[in-house]
Symmetry: C2
Subunit: 467 residues, 2 copies
Amino acid sequence: MAFIGASSDPNKWGFRILANLVDGGYQGKIYPVNPKKGEILGWQVYATVADIPETPDMAVIVVPPQQVSNAVKDCVARGIQAGVVITAGFAETGNEKLEQEFVDIARKGGMVLVGPNSQGIVNTEANLYPQMPPLFPKPGHLAIVSQSGNIVGTTSRHLTIRGFGCSKCISSGNEADLHTEDYIEYLANDPQTKVILSYLEGVKDGKRFIEVAREASKKKPIVILKSGDTDAGAKAAKSHTSALAGSDAVYQAMFQQTGIIRVSTIYEMLDAALAFLCYPLPRGRRVGIVAAGGGWGVLATDACAKLGLDVVTLSPETISELDSFMPVWWSRGNPVDLVAGTFGENLTRAVEVVLKSPATDGVILLGLIPAARPGRVMQSMTEADRKRAQDDMAERIIGVIDGIAEMVKRCGKPVIIGSELPAISAAFAQQLNKALADKNFWCFTMPHEAATAFALLARYAEYLNLK
Amino acid sequence: MAFIGASSDPNKWGFRILANLVDGGYQGKIYPVNPKKGEILGWQVYATVADIPETPDMAVIVVPPQQVSNAVKDCVARGIQAGVVITAGFAETGNEKLEQEFVDIARKGGMVLVGPNSQGIVNTEANLYPQMPPLFPKPGHLAIVSQSGNIVGTTSRHLTIRGFGCSKCISSGNEADLHTEDYIEYLANDPQTKVILSYLEGVKDGKRFIEVAREASKKKPIVILKSGDTDAGAKAAKSHTSALAGSDAVYQAMFQQTGIIRVSTIYEMLDAALAFLCYPLPRGRRVGIVAAGGGWGVLATDACAKLGLDVVTLSPETISELDSFMPVWWSRGNPVDLVAGTFGENLTRAVEVVLKSPATDGVILLGLIPAARPGRVMQSMTEADRKRAQDDMAERIIGVIDGIAEMVKRCGKPVIIGSELPAISAAFAQQLNKALADKNFWCFTMPHEAATAFALLARYAEYLNLK
């Protein structure tokens, strides 16, 4: 790994990014390049790229804008075939000519480039973290390609907090050479990646994007957060990464034709990522709702209806099977309101009855805590007792989820869970999320999140059937 | 406090709710009532209400449905003037007649009733927590009145996690006697309450609701999450609390006329609550955005545009003032993209320049972390070093926020902050949120949340000007 523009000044990106590369535990050799030579972070600094004793696989370029063309020239001369240009100040500030110059040099020399105006890249399998923020997501199956560096950071940070890792993170910057569609094409064939997430401000080669996305979508879901869908936003995008946001109707049609799952906020992108990673696809849009609380059931029903999901009428057989163990005052309809007093096994039993009904394509289950039969939580509990009670509850919740996972396998339909586990305490949520993530499982929190997850899974299932 | 239907069986609500009343630290006397007598949780049990040696201020009623009328009769006879009927199985299951029966008894006897089908109530000032879930929100200035008990729980749990408390929590259930509008009327005059939050499935007396809400809205903001705005949801609401959801267009018009702030998810209700509690109102819809990251700026711009906010063009004077200290490659427009490399004081300086510009009614600031100049976070840090680094960062972030709070006071305009602090770690977020909540301050996380907060504040400001 060549690092062109290395610095020993901790305030400069030439140091910070190099430090992240070193701290991340990259196993290969690192060749910092700086005319001043010396040593930085334990690695010998070379005056020029030509001086490096072997041909690096890749170069990270952090020199000032005017020097990028020369740096690329040096890389090509040294036989380096890939580079990440961190340096900004090109097309996004009107400097298209300078940008085109180094791209031409690279292309003529058979070198591909990420950036410029990139925050860096991550490949967790290789412990490779040459990027601006000191973020070290663990290995996982979610790839991020983003025209905003900050949004790569936001996404990987939030995935980390939820207990999940990444395969590759790419801050694609101005996309002067490699475009989003190139990364999608690569990630579609990357065995580490199961879901592709992308933040997009604009597409440069629409035709190729459509060809690539259509095929890639058949292999794995592509979730895209497309910004610039208002005039004001499009203007802001132009000055950010020089992207031409274009007509949103065109993008919308493009996404629909190619099976791309469009989301509208970062939260929704995270939710979509974990929906695809953790849940099987439903065969249709017919939803059964089992809610340990009437209000949650009503909110989920509204959310489903708005998302084009069908909260089906349950058959008399299903109702009578539920009658056999539910309290007499239960709602006798969909949503199945478990009402105060239905705890423990009855909750999972109700889920199974609704799940196996031929009328449903899957179930939304809201409220796990009653299933875990929480004991009386004393105000006056000691810290140790509270910890024990929480461990206990975490164990019981995981037990309930394991039972549901078995059920899902038996029935071949998803049970999307929404339960406000994070609200018990931040530490509890983190502990539980980690345990669940290790089992490749994620609980949504709110009714509208669970409904959105169901709708996104259903949309992708429809694309796969159409192919 | 009379507790009618007290039980010594820990699986029964007659025990659990009583336990929460005791654990919550209620300072008055508790009189459990059960024909079996004896003692529960340290309190002497009385066989009948008539046996209680003084007149209780209130009764909690947890007996089976068929016995509620008699319990109310006993209360009236004993001179009790207020009751909370926890018992379910009335109008929501088609049993309107039985419900009307005990309401008539209460009204004739001058007794008001919460419920039936209520989860209970909370008055934090009085340490009064007779409710189903073992939740003990701390005292605060947010009141919740909800036709769903679970949603009271969800809301108070999430507020607790964010570091905030409640004044009163009311699970209004079927609203056979007291209605949402009665609670709103009371809370509008409650000095502990600064913002009223309500989950609503349906209004029973539309005319009175409008009269009450119109006046109450002039005193403090009323934030309502109205469900049943789809046919499927309305049907679910009917079987939940017997509410008639009615035409959503009628509700929408009613909310607009009365200044009610309508939200569409529980998250949005929480965000609205903290927006009103922690931020001053803007005088209009003209927004300046300062973003420590281009992508965040674009997303915020889109969100603002969709919410009817105006991301204004900055004047040449403002641009040239920013030019004086920003790096040459900055975006020179709104959003002000601080771009990689703008740290520390420059961030708050940019906020101040945009805030004091006559062209803006307020600022959205995205990304606090760069302002706090984070050091190099080593992968290999010890737990203690990491803790110290986080304490350090929390302190610096609080310093930045304090500076901004001063600026807000000077300019009389809001600076809504969105910054992904929670993603640093769950413990860090909790620590920081607690410190900020103590200063009555809340940081939003995502760009769309900050934009939504601005829009909700602007909407309420418009109502106040119209009165």
